[in-house]
């Protein structure tokens, strides 16, 4: 059974542009929807909070692993460490890796998240349930909003 998530996406932008969008903490925050306190530094903890509507109370916490310019950016984190009251620091983390390759038209980006086999399954179930509830609520909010306007 697969214990990792692998994504591949073609971007019509040069590698240097994609690299900046991934590794400049403000730019990363724009598309990932997180407000990060300071620049990414390999070996250091990155702190902040989620800006995604409805999830603003959640913390962002990751440890930057590798930054090989225009080739590889990686960090470890607790996937969906969503309960602010719970201490996740002793739980295993997953590794997120972004790999960049130049193409004729821009950049090929590979994203891998691995290490799910080490996450206790009660956390996975909880994350899934809360996540699902969150999205259901989101959809309702949108529906209400659209119905009003």
């Amino acid at each position: 059974m697969q214990d990792r998530i692998e994504k591949r996406i073609e971007l019509k932008a040069p590698v240097s542009r994609v690299w900046r969008a991934l590794t400049d903490h403000r730019e990363f925050g724009e598309w990932f929807r997180v407000k990060i306190d300071g620049p990414f530094v390999p070996g250091q903890v990155s702190l902040g909070h989620i800006t995604y509507p409805g999830y603003e109370h959640l913390k962002w916490e990751a440890v930057v692993q590798k930054m090989e310019p225009e080739r590889l950016f990686s960090f470890t984190w607790h996937p969906y460490a969503i309960d602010p009251k719970m201490d996740y620091s002793n739980e295993p983390q997953t590794l997120v890796e972004f790999r960049l390759e130049p193409t004729a038209t821009g950049t090929l980006l590979f994203v891998t998240e691995s290490g799910f086999d080490k996450i206790p399954s009660h956390r996975r179930d909880e994350a899934f349930r809360m996540n699902d509830g969150g999205w259901t609520q989101q959809m309702k909010n949108i529906e209400t909003h659209v119905a009003k306007s």
Partner: protein, 114 residues
């Protein structure tokens, strides 16, 4: 009644790591055999393999603690039955994480291409 009891057991045992239980060739083979349907005894599961009865028993215990198989006892007879739930939950979880990445990457795409 036994159905209620077994679902309570499976909820408790779903806390054990499912991936770790499946991360072994022999256990995967046992799961594939059991997922085909009929509950099987340890002797049946040992048949046609190079494994000892003890080895099969040990692997079944690991699967049982992850809730992937149940032991059904009928008098002196003991058989093992496949429980699809923990694997289905894992799959659902990974699908939800995967969908979140799809959304994040499509935002990244708009962000760098604009």
């Amino acid at each position: 009644m036994s159905r209620n009891r077994s679902s309570a057991v499976s909820r408790t045992r779903a806390r054990a790591p499912v991936f770790a239980a499946l991360g072994d060739e022999t256990r995967l083979t046992l799961v594939v055999r059991l997922s085909a349907g009929q509950p099987q005894s340890i002797s049946q599961l040992t048949e046609g393999t190079r494994l000892t009865r003890q080895a099969v028993t040990k692997h079944l215990r690991v699967l049982e603690s992850a809730g992937i198989v149940h032991n059904i006892r009928n008098g002196r007879e003991s058989r093992f039955e496949f429980n699809p739930q923990p694997i289905a939950e894992m799959k659902e979880y990974l699908e939800s994480v995967s969908a979140q990445w799809d959304r994040a990457l499509s935002r990244l795409k708009s962000f760098v291409e604009d």
